[in-house]
């Protein structure tokens, strides 16, 4: 992989039916990319789904995968999304086992800083819901390692391209 390898995002609008996800992931697999995250859900148009993939790749290979995905019969539209020009969000559930009760106020303080919610509490564990861009979630998980991190479940990034920036819009006309 070349020097310009980085985490890249693909957003695809596809027919919501069996086999479509398989065809797309099969293309990505053929290029030996590891899918970092994947999120699928119904789109705004009935019968269509929006899929968001993230993966590490260089630009050339990524561009080729996008073209190949675009060629698939069931893919309505596909676009690469750059962080700068897209809204990217992810949700994670993080289970902690903080140990000594004295540390709890400290943890809760951090959770508030990250605008997380405690969604489950047991005598030994706390489960926190935190959402935001993937970097923020990484930061929270790193922090949580100091407080008895037990389990993490992440949804994977979902992303939409931003409304065209003002400058771009005016430059066009």
């Amino acid at each position: 992989m070349n020097h310009d390898a980085q985490l890249r995002i693909i957003s695809a609008l596809v027919e919501h039916k069996p086999g479509v996800l398989f065809r797309i992931t099969n293309l990505i697999r053929r290029k030996s990319f590891n899918i970092e995250s994947i999120a699928v859900g119904p789109a705004e148009i009935p019968g269509l789904a929006r899929m968001t993939f993230t993966m590490f790749s260089d630009y050339g290979q990524f561009d080729q995968v996008i073209k190949n995905i675009d060629n698939l019969v069931d893919v309505r539209a596909v676009e690469p999304l750059e962080g700068r020009r897209a809204t990217v969000r992810e949700l994670a559930l993080v289970k902690l086992s903080p140990g000594a009760p004295a540390t709890r106020p400290e943890i809760i303080n951090y959770i508030e800083t990250f605008r997380g919610n405690i969604v489950d509490v047991s005598p030994d564990t706390l489960t926190v819901e935190v959402s935001g861009d993937p970097d923020k979630i990484n930061a929270f998980i790193n922090l949580a390692k100091n407080y008895g991190l037990k389990e993490v479940a992440r949804t994977g990034a979902v992303a939409l391209s931003r409304v065209m920036a003002y400058e771009e819009a005016t430059a066009r006309w």
Binding site: V14, R30, D63, Q64, K67, N71, V73
Partner: protein, 569 residues
């Protein structure tokens, strides 16, 4: 009607004349309907009776459908049962996929309520075929079958033609329901190619007209788009030489004064050397295969490359930086380019370049080196060109004989040369020849073969006899896997590993055992009379031509070398 009846009626409505197939537990209902049609005259009015060609191995069914498609430009259809029947199709589908050939494969599947339980003769065919087809269907209701079948033919034949697989569970074949046959299908995510962008066409026309040393590289895409006439007219208007890839062989008559023959690993040495000297290279319908370009980083570094292709994923895939690219049908693009040129755009006068190109012209020699009492591989191919009429269809297998054909068998008429270029499938040529013969019963069909390749699908001899599809197989028999041996000779210090095939079988006796004509020839005269007799024979002829195992295909571009760095001999 039943699902099976719907399947057959769909084939009839598509105008399918022949299905190459093999029955089994998973597709019995479809074969039962074929029995109705063929033996009881149940074919609907206005539809012709579909001919079924019983193969001896499903791989050959796919190759026959592929050969039929390549010879005719129409969709070829093959059929197999579930499990092993369907898995045997895969090599054939992959072959068609790589060379962009429209094939529809219909496979039986275990009943839908058994799918996923490892039932007898169950294989995940839809999953398996995903990488070697444009699309796969698995209709689960009888009422879905007509739409599915219509869509399968539509997808296989449009844009970049490729195989499509329809996998039908046995219970769906058996179930009864009301069905309606749609007249067309709509895929919102898959639309026909748009017309070429006129602005880009203008830019291309201007660039190539003002070029000093232009060359046109035509690939298999020109054949698929049936754009031979346009290509020739455009090349003549521009007075620009035309080189082809191996898949493009035949899209431009190789005896034309502007033909530079084939380029690539075993292309003409002079053409390969001339190529980097051109200032503008117009590439139409070629994907810059590594076999065509040599090491892509060393390919024409100082040339402006223009790339026209029907598949946008080909733009920038292998050749990264075309100065202009156009996603378009080759016929339409060339048509518009011709119009631009005829509209009076002024071109350069290129007398020097044309003179130089014509000095480089590859004049196919049909003279013999010796007295004709012994035939080498190259001489056999040269003589075959002399004895086989230009309108005849020639298929090849894969290996040395195939590359000798590239070098020494000029193709004059389009769709008369059929070979597995992309996948390089040994065993393709003979079944493809049978498929081609059904598509074009009016012309003689020849399979130029090697002894290794022919043994991969030689059981198709039974099909050719029983179904009365006479073709001629010419085996260049060196008792070796010649091309592999050549690589071992050049690149592995003559350490010949597993390439000796020995003297078995005796191909003459083998042919006779099947009821075909077998003949062994050693001299040019014998070859000529064997070809003449075979062309008139009502049964298939196998001509065994013993040649030396030491002969090489030269010149050769070693793997990883740039286009200029050929091994001469």
């Amino acid at each position: 009607m039943s699902g099976a009846q719907a399947v057959v009626e769909c084939l009839e409505r598509e105008g399918v004349e022949v299905v190459f197939g093999y029955p089994g537990g998973g597709n019995l209902p479809i074969y039962d309907v074929l029995y109705d049609r063929q033996n009881l005259g149940h074919t609907p009015r206005d539809c012709r009776v579909i001919r079924h060609v019983l193969v001896r191995h499903e791989q050959s069914a796919a190759h026959m459908a592929d050969g039929y498609a390549r010879a005719s430009g129409r969709v070829g259809v093959c059929m197999a049962t579930s499990g092993p029947g369907a898995t045997n199709l895969m090599t054939g589908l992959a072959t068609a996929y790589m060379d962009s050939s429209p094939v529809v494969a219909i496979t039986g599947q275990v009943p839908s309520f058994v799918v996923g339980s490892d039932g007898f003769q169950e294989a995940d065919v839809v999953g398996m075929a995903a990488s070697v087809t444009k699309y796969t269907f698995q209709p689960l209701h009888v009422r879905d079958i007509p739409y599915t079948m219509k869509a399968a033919f539509y997808l296989a034949a449009t844009r970049r033609p490729q195989p499509v697989l329809v996998d039908i569970p046995k219970d769906v074949q058996q179930a009864e329901d009301e069905v309606e046959f749609p007249t067309n299908v709509d895929f919102p995510s898959y639309r026909p190619l748009p017309d070429p962008d006129p602005t880009i066409v203008k830019t291309i026309a201007r660039t190539i007209l003002t070029a000093e040393r232009p060359i046109i590289l035509a690939g298999g895409g020109v054949k698929i788009a049936n754009a031979y006439r346009e290509l020739q007219a455009f090349a003549e208007l521009l007075v620009a030489p035309v080189v082809t890839s191996f898949m493009g062989k035949g899209v431009f008559p190789e005896n034309h004064p502007l033909s530079l023959g084939c380029m690539g690993m075993h292309g003409s040495e002079r053409t390969n050397k001339l190529l980097p000297d051109c200032d503008v290279l117009l590439v139409i319908g070629s994907r810059f295969s590594d076999r065509t370009t040599g090491k892509i980083e060393k390919f024409c570094p100082n040339t402006k490359v223009i790339h026209i292709d029907a598949d946008k994923a080909e733009i920038g895939k292998n050749y990264k930086m075309p100065i202009i690219s156009l996603v378009a049908d080759a016929k339409k693009a060339l048509g518009l380019l011709i119009r631009e040129v005829e509209a009076g755009m002024m071109g350069r006068f290129r007398a020097l370049w044309v003179k130089r190109v014509q000095e480089m012209m590859v004049v196919a020699k049909t003279e013999l080196d010796g007295d004709g009492s012994h035939l080498s591989g190259v001489e056999t191919v040269k003589m075959l060109r002399r004895f086989i009429p230009t309108k005849a269809i020639v298929t090849t297998e894969v290996g040395q004989h195939q590359m000798w054909c590239e070098q020494h068998f000029p193709v004059i008429e389009p769709r008369t040369f059929i070979s597995s270029g992309g996948l390089g499938t040994m065993g393709f040529g003979f079944p493809a020849a049978l498929g081609a013969k059904i598509a074009r019963p009016d012309v003689p069909v020849f399979d130029i073969a090697g002894d290794g390749s022919f043994q991969m699908t030689e059981n198709s001899l039974a099909t050719s006899i029983e179904e009365q599809i006479p073709v001629t197989v010419v085996i260049l028999n060196n008792r070796m896997l010649g091309m592999v041996a050549q690589w071992q000779r050049f690149f592995y210090k003559r350490r010949y590993s597993a390439v000796h095939l020995g003297r078995s079988p005796d191909f003459v006796k083998l042919a006779e055992a099947y009821g075909a004509v077998g003949v062994r020839v050693n001299t040019v005269l014998e070859l000529e009379s064997a070809i003449t007799r075979a062309s008139r024979s009502p049964v298939t002829t196998v001509i065994d031509v013993p040649i030396s195992p030491e002969e090489n295909v030269v010149p050769m571009l070693p793997p990883g070398a740039g286009i200029k760095e050929m091994i001469i001999g």
